[in-house]
Symmetry: D2
């Protein structure tokens, strides 16, 4: 069998582990040939690739990033994107294509699959918002990085007697905020799924100070927003000098909470550090299993499918189903986290 | 409601997170009273306890160990163990007891539950061998510690051109060996569930050297054993000086592989470092959820049950069921790990 | 002997290690009494303190923050600050005061020392800018945190083909930028000691892309500034909505480099995470030694002095001398770091 | 200029950082050519090498191990070792050789230097026992790994109410034991420099239990030994089955302390994990500076010298001097550590 693999979209710890696993399983156990396309779909569209043998994937398991490069190019960006992909697949004699990517990548994968190409997708997102799988690799690493930062920030917040508002990744869903906030014992967590009421949030944080505590940690997913009318909210943009104003939830909350509570409040934006570097053991195992099972699915001819974790099992689910809805934080998970004071 | 909590058995990262979560949920949300028994069942049997309020659990979320202490005392050790426990529960007016522990603890919990005491168990083991839950807290931390050690050992094995045999915890099951071995890209993994054939293992490791590699890492669960007749195996004991001989799978494998391969081989025994210290974010979230749901079960009157993770949900399963079988590494999980060379 | 200890100024990993060491050495070896003032100089000025025995410092060695609290209150803030301090020292029968703090704290310590109080200072700053000591504790931890972040950011920068400008602490000196930049292999480092020329910086970063590299990492100390006239530079302040504009070197450099290079550039501001949490082993050892030697100095009657590391030795240097100049990054250290491309 | 570099002896975090720094400084700033010999002196003796350009050292700064390989081969092992080395240096037109290694390597370097070869040595040992430098790279990483293990072991020792005897590296000197023991707050530290009296050690550990503590941590350098006559001590060897008996200080102390104290005691041997893997930021900076200054020394024609850290400066010291004595733990450093109880 001849298999093409590619990584598309933003950085995510575990990408190399998937690539390595695909190559190991295919080459060692099935005597397949594997090629890797450069820079995601761009490589497929421009027929830019290299052969991947065992040496090519030696030592990459624990490395962040992707040895194949990535880009945000999508087949749908080109008028003849699907045709070009089909042509190169035929030309290269590929029996399967394994794209590893997030929502956008999987939509593109579904498009190509519906056009008849032999696709087995592997879901990838640090945000953990893909509905058909319990977890995606990269998420555990992101939560781990955010939690370690929160652990450190707690002592500083306490020493300085401050409120710290810590912005973590999550434009559409609050999974990283929820898990890192729970893991670090944050005193309030705000997520996109549930617009916050600034009065309630102030009361919650204020209650800590009334109870004699000297600091508070608020974790805010970057996409968290106030309930309409609850608070003046600045969507960002350019300032009068033409500079990006870099508004953001942490900065606005810190201004607002400082004003309302009469306590020093400071924003901390964790940023890109959450999405790069060495994956945790958890993510390496999950990524390795996804790669292994993607190859198996290809050999069984199960195309148009996506690897997914359900409990402790890796199962295959239809791509079409996987891209329909975002997995958001349900109310009961949020309730679990809200107990902490 | 009045709730008693206790931690029993060996150390496990996340114990304090469960205790804290029980107290937070019970005291803050339900206005319960919580007491903590000292040193596991001993505290219940001797009525040795202290009150747990929010201050008592402040700052313990990320701490290893258990603020309540632990011991290996079991009610069944005393002729009147069950009666003493019943008496103290009545005396203290407890509406629920939440024991946090491993297999032995849960058997004791089941015994007391069958004797009519209001028990909600929380499973705890770094070994991940409790059948009724997808995962137990402590396991992720143990795997993380072992993986980090394996990452470091790889460079040394390579520089020194050696075979390293790394012994990880797991007397009865190979979960830590399997996951840390997969996460670190070990070249062979031996587990108790599947006695190894020394000829096959030698061939597997030898194939790496024939392929031009200069080192190999073998991960061995402490309970791994050779297939009967495959290799002389020393079960340990005292030497002629009366010293413990500290035999063990890693030492014996290193002697044997060095002899058979003609390559330097060295044992590394990771030991207790896998079961202590700060829990990972994953374990803190799981432990926190277990504590939260144990309190909920108590309030719903669901006794004789155990908290368990199934997929992404916390569910309650009967204690009686949970202690019947050990969760062992299934053949297909082992096959996934065997691909690596 | 009766000793008072206090921690003043911003958070710094190792503060608790000093406190613990002072108590251990004084109480165990000299049978002294130790009291700890709350919230730095405020505690001394308001006679707010508690007794510190072995139990009080048990388990704090590896903890970030300070069990005594801190504040930015200085004796010189009060008209009668020195007199109040003198009065409380007499009232409490103190034979020595050990203030642990940065530049401001040490100036206050010198003031009180010149007023005749028995002071032994312990220098504390993550910035490493105190001239009389080779290193201060907290610095190694800050550099470690920044380096780990840079390691992670490299893979993301590479995957996304971006320039990342990473802002680290250092308002007046570039030590953290220098060391973390060297440790992580940053491609350019800008520090306050040496205003950068934006044309040169652009050329340096651009050269990487011309050489076929796909990303670059610039580390910027927060106090780094362009050479006068080299680039329009915005000192921050409020925007037209009254929000803090949160200008800063990383944001401005990212705007400027993106414009000049035609490559995506993004700012990352590491912030407070550098100054909190568990100290590294290096910082714990240094902090422990400082505490130990401060007690010895007190017993020898060497007041008006500061503990300092010189090579591998702890020596005492006059407070008056220590506060005169800031230790800045010398040209030759900067040259060592500039080699990397 | 044409420079040859090699790494010799055991693994040590920071080796790759030196190699990279040599190449960067030499190639970028001096337009030198650099070659790397394979497997230490073996590469020089057998003229086995490769060219090292910027690409060859890309991405290795944070990697453990050595891209050049290592071995324990020494020129003195061959009758014509010095002559072969001289011949290959001439043949390859080398103007300088930079061997990176420990005591044995530096003795070999001195031998070749005295034979007229242009040598600039770089000291390497995790043991920190080279007298002419304040610190060697690798030591900080080893101490960090050991400290992290000790942090974890403390909670387990406490939960299990045990004495743990933790064996760390250090056959001839106790630097790792001293620093990790201080950093983790060990209750006793035994080092080769000061044979321990088993009665005193027992009393020290026993005092903790009498004071109501429930556990103790003893850190033992692997070369630590009892004072003559203080305790029966087994030097190891083979048992009656011909197996290595794997005696060792931790195992013997655990047997002895358990017997004397009547408390459970367990050995933990950290082993190779201390000498591999990613270097700390501290070690990366030191290694980078050593490489940089080795190239400078070569360009100044300062041969027969060794890079060394003195305070904050890198200086050059004669090789002949550097190999004369081992840097042992002085009594006053040991006294600092002994305060803890």
């Amino acid at each position: 069998m001849r298999i093409g693999v590619l990584t598309s979209g933003g950085d995510c710890p575990g990408l190399n582990a998937v690539i390595r696993s695909v190559v190991h399983r295919a080459v060692v156990d099935h005597e397949d040939e594997v090629i890797g396309f450069h820079d995601g779909w761009r490589g497929l569209l421009e027929c830019d690739y290299r052969k991947l043998d065992l040496d090519a994937v030696s030592g990459i398991l624990a490395q962040g990033g992707t040895i194949l490069g990535s880009s945000r190019v999508q087949p749908a960006h080109l008028v003849d994107g699907v045709e070009r992909a089909r042509g190169h697949v035929a030309e290269l004699g590929l029996d399967a294509i394994i794209p590893i990517g997030g929502e956008g990548t999987l939509k593109a994968a579904n498009l190509l699959s519906e056009a008849g190409l032999p696709i087995v997708g592997v879901p990838k997102t640090i945000d953990n918002d893909i509905a058909s799988t319990d977890v995606t690799f990269g998420f555990d690493t992101a939560v781990g990085v955010a939690t370690e930062a929160l652990d450190r920030l707690k002592t500083t917040a306490e020493s300085h007697q401050r409120v710290l508002i810590v912005e973590v990744m999550g434009r559409h869903t609050g999974w990283i905020a929820l898990h890192s906030g729970m893991a670090a014992g944050a005193h309030a967590i705000v997520v996109p799924e549930r617009p916050f009421d600034i009065d309630e949030l102030t009361a919650r944080v204020g209650a800590r100070f009334e109870a004699g505590k000297r600091f508070a940690i608020v974790v805010a997913a970057e996409g968290a927003k106030p309930r309409a009318g609850s608070m003046e909210f600045d969507e960002g943009g350019k300032d009068v000098y033409g500079h990006e104003r870099f508004a953001g939830i942490a900065r606005q909350l810190s201004t607002e909470l400082e004003k309302r509570l009469g306590k020093e409040a400071r924003p901390v934006i964790l940023g890109h550090v959450q999405r790069g570097g060495t994956p945790t053991a958890y993510d390496r195992v999950l990524a390795t299993r996804f790669g292994w099972h993607a190859v198996e699915a290809a050999h069984r001819g199960e195309f148009g499918m996506l690897t997914a974790l359900r409990g402790t099992e890796i199962v295959m689910v239809p791509l079409a189903e996987a891209v329909q809805t975002l997995k958001t934080v349900p109310a009961d998970r949020y309730a679990e986290a809200e107990t902490v004071l």
